[in-house]
Symmetry: C2
Subunit: 451 residues, 2 copies
């Protein structure tokens, strides 16, 4: 068993420095969710296979991590008669790991429908697992941060969710953040004008690729859709200059109307009531997946760091019907923690560590120990994070330890200090040293007047 252990691919450890930064982001997001009166819930990591399967499409179903039944799972199964892994899986696995936070939310609502007051504003920040091929920036376990409002079709909800995006990125001080808004209804209206309704999915996928493949390639691929020159010019125009009023009036000439236009306009009007940190714009190209959303859709990106969407969301009208309940319209946003982390790192936007007032007491040996332990206790009671070096090692080794672990202060409390009932405080950043009474030293640390 003496083999050097390894982590499975796509899974990560987090050390304390990384966690501190992650928790800085998590706290900002959850504080904003709370200030908008969202209630936190948590669902278990493990759900029944029946709850998850068939909800994400065939492609995604294969990416669900399945858990092997416990005990002798073959006892009731005639193994020799079956060599198909898909059938075997149905038999030997009844549980799976959470794939996203939305299907568990639907299951939660369905199970608790009589105890929930609607509109139900819930947020959830938990890990999800996907058996995706691991690659740079894509992990098999990652945190999703979702806020959803279930049971209200009012567009105030959309307005509030955009405000949440804006407020989070303002608090993160992530300048250059762009919130794009579109509506699936607008995409449908335009596809109707272009006569591509029967190829709607392919059309939307092509739109989504516009930025990646560029205008020339886009026009080339557009030929597959048999679109007239006039329609093609119109499409390019609204991609390059997305203007809700223009699209609406242009389509109305052809008898095509859509409430998507008025909905988007309403949201943008409301967003003018207050000042916004992010750039908020209508983006006709925005599609956000295919079969899921039914109304407004959102996406967040940063213009300075090319890492893809930092968040996304939208309105879906059939959330709980998958579990046989009445349809409840929902609208939600999601934050991608790992990508936001990457952005803040790239732009050096993480504040310096909060842990800098950590204090290490040097350990001079048994004779001085009791005095040191008592002083240590007073430090902690005053709210200072502190510890004593656990072994009676050489002072040089102890100082190295303080340096390696970024202790800001070292407390020296040897024979002389004990005699004079004082302690010596060394600031490890400036090298300054000061000897004074315990209360004075504690005041100095807490007021940070020690540099």
């Amino acid at each position: 068993m003496n083999v050097k252990p390894k982590l499975p691919k796509g899974f990560r450890d987090f050390d304390s420095k990384t966690l501190e930064k992650r928790e800085y982001i998590i706290k900002i997001i959850s504080d904003v969710f709370k200030s908008y009166s969202f209630q936190k819930i948590e669902t278990p990591s493990v759900e029944s296979i029946e709850t998850l399967s068939g909800k994400y499409g065939d492609e995604a179903d294969r990416l669900i991590f399945k858990i092997l039944n416990s005990g002798n799972y073959l006892s009731d199964y005639d193994l020799n008669n079956n060599a198909d892994y898909k059938e075997l899986t149905r038999f030997i696995s009844k549980k799976a790991l959470r794939y996203d936070l939305t299907v568990p939310l639907a299951r939660y609502i369905s199970q608790n429908i009589n105890n929930i007051s609607f509109p139900f504003k819930r947020y959830q920040m938990q890990n999800v697992w996907r058996a995706d091929k691991p690659q740079k920036g894509r992990f098999r376990e990652f945190m999703q941060c979702d806020a959803d409002i279930i049971g209200s079709k009012n567009l105030i909800n959309e307005y509030e969710l955009v405000r949440i995006y804006d407020k989070v990125f303002e608090k993160l001080n992530l300048a250059g953040t762009i919130i794009s808004i579109n509506s699936r209804k607008i995409l449908t209206a335009v596809s109707s004008k272009l006569n591509v309704e029967d190829k709607f999915s392919e059309f939307v996928i092509l739109l989504d690729k516009y930025d990646k493949i560029g205008k020339i390639k886009f026009i080339e691929e557009l030929k597959n859709f048999n679109i007239s020159k006039e329609d093609s010019d119109f499409l390019i125009k609204i991609i390059e200059n997305p203007d809700i009023d223009y699209i609406k009036s242009y389509l109305s000439e052809f008898g095509i109307s859509s409430e998507g236009f008025d909905e988007c306009k309403y949201i943008f009007e409301k967003l003018k009531l207050t000042s916004n940190f992010c750039e908020i714009k209508f983006n006709f190209k925005l599609a956000r997946g295919l079969d899921y959303y039914t109304g407004t859709i959102f996406e967040v990106e940063n213009s300075k760091v090319k890492i893809g969407a930092l968040g996304g969301g939208g309105r879906y009208d059939n959330l709980t019907s998958i579990f046989g309940n009445n349809e409840l319209s929902g609208v939600g946003v999601s934050f991608g923690l790992d990508r936001i982390y990457y952005c803040l790192s790239e732009l050096s936007l993480f504040k310096s560590s909060n842990e800098l007032n950590k204090t290490l007491f040097l350990n001079f040996g048994e004779r001085e120990l009791n005095y040191n332990l008592k002083v240590l206790d007073v430090f902690r009671e005053s709210g200072i994070s502190a510890t004593i070096y656990a072994d009676f090692s050489k002072i040089k080794k102890q100082m190295n330890y303080a340096n390696n672990l970024n202790y800001k202060f070292v407390v020296i409390c040897g024979e002389n200090e004990i005699k004079s009932k004082m302690v010596t405080l060394k600031n490890m950043i400036t090298g300054n040293q000061i000897t004074d009474k315990v209360e004075k030293i504690i005041k100095l640390i807490l007021s940070e007047k020690t540099d």
Copy 2:
């Protein structure tokens, strides 16, 4: 697919009220860990099977949740030749869910040994999964809260960990909490006097059962060990009146010595330096599992609520050797979140909700909406958690919603208020209503002078 969904047995949803209480406990534990200079790490939920298996004993190995390989996991496997589920499992599952936080810690240290400064003081608060039979108070997914010090054999570490227990239960205000201390070395020394060294495991299991089965049954079962009358009397005496000095001097008459006595005494002496909230006592019956610990052991219980151990821990000398590294001695404590939660509930020790300054703006319709959204924004900027009822429903329905969700305040901002540039605040607990300028109302809420 319209089947009412169910959670798998032993797994739980948490609503916002439950989470608030859980997070109250979690924050107290992590604040104390931090104030003792422990660094937080996190390991992934999923580890390689090789990392976990063979580390917990055969019994526990069966309780590890195993994850099915992705894709066609049977493609390289001649299914017909094998009907044994154990062999099949080795082939079709290479990953498993975290079973505890200790083996992942050992794996983490082994992988990062050159980047860690020892003594390594880490804490970890994450879920673990066990395929145990679910029953009252026993779940298949639950949170463990562990603090360990790796790479120091000094007993200051034991002292500090007992102080951590004491401080956490003081902050939780959980009166009647008892911290028991023993040493595996003392158990070994006594078993040597009793000549039961070859039945050490069974002996310790019997000791552990003393409180459950009572003295008479204990003495009866003791007969299986062929212990002399004199030894049996000695054993009963040190169970009923555990006294380190007495056991030490009694055994020394027979030439049996053990550093366990001096170690325990040292820890108790140090604990006299500061005042303690919990009762801290030597308990000869304490055993804490069998093969794991090698020195001091701890256990925490509450005398008022009979739910079993609220925490436990101890010293283990062979943590990293399981992964082929040099032996690093470790000592740690663990808190059982679910049981602490149960205790606090039973004794009504949870403080009232922090969410009580939540504010709901009534929604009077589109004409009043813009004014309300602007005021809502000012509320949130002032740090008040607030929202507007999302639909233009009847006021009675909106007031019911505020009641159901325990909103403390309702803001009424209708035609009259808008004309006079005022807002009306209704305290939902007292029923009192007050109309004033926005800034005044915000000040009132923040100073809580609204009752």
